[in-house]
Symmetry: C4
Subunit: 261 residues, 4 copies
């Protein structure tokens, strides 16, 4: 087994039959998470100005690491099975979705001019983690989530439409009851919708709340009637996802036990 062949197996986890993450994969995942964490805490002005040089060095280190990994992949991908020439395989890989993300991450990290101006861009590194979702179990779980949503789309349309009508109806009721008393918070339906959404999701910041008796009665009715409705789409998706995962597990268990179900 050549060095390049071993590198290919290390870097491209999907190349391995067991579908597990290799040591290199795990280190890269850690590096991505660390670089995202640095990008996040780097937005805190006090921390950033105190640790300016440490952050710069860390960013430089991540950039070199990601660049090295990108080059190593470009070199090793020639081991991919297939009749094409090495460079054809490389060109094909370089134009793939996940390779382009990798390239964007390298560029974002290494161009120092972007460093100061747009820290949010650096959070794009998180998308690199999406590449992990190709692995067996994760990809199955995501597919289960996706198909759960597609399967129950009519349930979601109906409960979603009822929830929307309730959000709008609640906002209109409070606009009517409190619009004159609290024009800042309920002076128009779009303003009242902020109250309506924050109430029906049960967040309830308390920055806006009805003060008149009529407004309180209406708000209480909206809160009692509507909270269930807003929670229903979630419950539907959760149940469908859970069932789909369970069905998969049972199928897998049956597959392991033998031929006959």
């Amino acid at each position: 087994m050549t060095l390049r062949s071993r590198a290919y197996n290390e870097l491209f986890a999907s190349a391995r039959t067991d579908g597990k993450l290799t040591l290199t994969n795990r280190l890269v995942v850690l590096a991505i998470l660390a670089s995202v964490a640095v990008a996040i805490v780097g937005t805190e002005r006090a921390f950033a100005s105190e640790n300016r040089s440490a952050i710069l060095w860390a960013e430089f280190g991540f950039g070199v690491l990601f660049l090295a990994e990108y080059c190593a992949r470009l070199w090793a991908v020639a081991e991919r099975p297939g009749p094409e020439s090495d460079w054809a395989k490389r060109s094909e890989w370089a134009r793939s979705f996940f390779a382009l993300i990798d390239l964007v991450v390298v560029v974002i990290t290494l161009i120092p001019f972007i460093l100061a101006g747009a820290p949010i861009l650096r959070l794009l590194r998180l998308f690199r983690l999406a590449a992990l979702l190709k692995f067996g179990k994760f990809s199955m779980a995501l597919k289960a989530l996706g198909s759960a949503i597609v399967d129950r789309r009519y349930d979601l349309y109906v409960t979603g439409a009822l929830a929307l009508v309730l959000l709008l109806g609640g906002a209109t009721a409070l606009y009517w009851a409190e619009g004159k008393v609290q024009p800042e918070a309920f002076g128009s339906i779009p303003r009242a919708m902020w109250w309506s959404i924050i109430t029906l999701t049960t967040v309830g910041y308390g920055d806006v709340s009805p003060v008149t008796p009529l407004g309180k009665v209406l708000a209480a009715l909206v809160a009692m009637g509507g909270i269930g409705l807003v929670a229903m789409p979630t419950g539907i998706i959760a149940a469908a996802f859970s069932d789909a995962m369970q069905a998969y597990r049972e199928e897998e268990a049956r597959g392991k036990d033998g031929a006959m179900p």
Copy 2:
């Protein structure tokens, strides 16, 4: 195929065997949603005064569109199968529930005197969307929701009654514990019920909350004991709805596969 026959198929989606929305239907849905959106943002004073003429033109446009659609339907409904004369069919359709809603929407939109005074009336347009609920899957989903509620009415009575007793009991407890200290918020049971409802639905605005140690202990007990109770009716309806939809889907799948289940 005559023009009127084609118009009938376009305008009356229920006339088509596949039960899907036609292009015209979709455009009307978009127009309704857009007109509702205009009515909503038009309640925002700052926006309304700046864009007075644009809103007026939009309202006029929607009015003409809805009027044109109403007239086109009135003309095309003569194609409806049946032995009656064209005008008998038209008269029957014009007196139907959904046609009356359409007429009300046209009138509300076109009478400019209503325009300034009662923006809430314009939200009635949303009810036009209810006509969509006649379509196959949606109508089935709504029926499933309705029958789920009817089927489980005793579950709902019992949990609803327990929730009501808890709301009332919590309000009475806090009225007793905090009525003297915070007369504005807990000085009577109806006032304390505002606290009780906002707490047990977990909204928790924070505009009223107990301040005495006794009040806090009682509120903590009410919160821990009662949140589940208030959430139970929702959970029951959600589960029943989900089961009914699932049963329908399985039946449908069986129907497609062949005669034998």
Copy 3:
């Protein structure tokens, strides 16, 4: 059929084979609900002082009505099947739990001295409604709820104990992190438990919340980890109740269809 026999059937719904509420039962239920509503709004000082005489008359009317119903029941209960004498049956009924509640309600309503001093006592009327729970479907639904709780008591012990440990652990963590900074809110573990309960039930009034970075990190961890735990007992009871009701309905349906399931 004598008058007394008809009165017995009207007043004692459980005497009827179909187990439905009679017209008289329904009127009494309405009177109870109305008298509770009067007792509730009567705690609102402004309303009570304005409508003093109306409330007094209403209270007097309810008292007379409840007294009349009590006497009518006492008279009619002699029709109850059994070999005992009329007065033995009356004495037995008068000492029953629900008859004692009725008597207490009559006494509370009619003694005018209690009227001014203890409005909360009047809410005891609500307990009269408990007598309704003897009816078929309701009694079954309540039993299902009770047996659901008994069946899953170990599930509830374990999740309840974990929730308690989390409540206590969260309170201790915030007492440690914020006790010095906000002694009023987090200066002792019992004080911090108010925060802990209001946070983990997701009520979140906002009257107390951490202000130090360490306190916020700990609070965020407690919130994310613990909300599920506190919601679990509810979910367990709701699921068990729902299953028990479903099983009952299926059994009932099977019973109606015939002998074979």
Copy 4:
């Protein structure tokens, strides 16, 4: 039956075949709960300074009780079945996990110098209750909870990862929209994450909330889209736990009924 043998049965509930708590066990549980309660209320300065001597005496009493129990167990454990000598059994027990916890609790309670300085340490007594979890039903329920989490780890990874992305995405969006206007609350992504976590768990203290229209729109979208996602891991664990307990109960019932299911 000797005194030591009876003491063994009383003190070591696991020695009994029915797996129930003995009277002594129950008393010890009460003493532990009481000592934890004293430790908790003892952190309240006002209460502690007023009841200094009562707390000291209570602490001393608990210490003596726990010491006596420890010694009694050490003495009685010699009855444990097995060929080893009495002291070998004692030494083995004394080095067991739960015996070490007992010893730590005795030491913490009796050393008076720890009394004043570190009240939090005294909450460690709660861990003594963990010893109860060895009993049949509890241990089964805990195992069911543990295996529910392990079984559904991929469901949890996927929903947890999506929830994390949403938390981070929401924080980034509000940092971008409100960072300039409210630098204290949204001036960096770590600060905005406090808002993000408190909103998506629906706690909603209201200490930080968006004030700009753009911030409110983004927050509303995050709230509506994300609440379900954050609730999903909980729902998954709750359902899995409930199913595992139900499967256990059915198995147990089948075992009792006889051989055939």
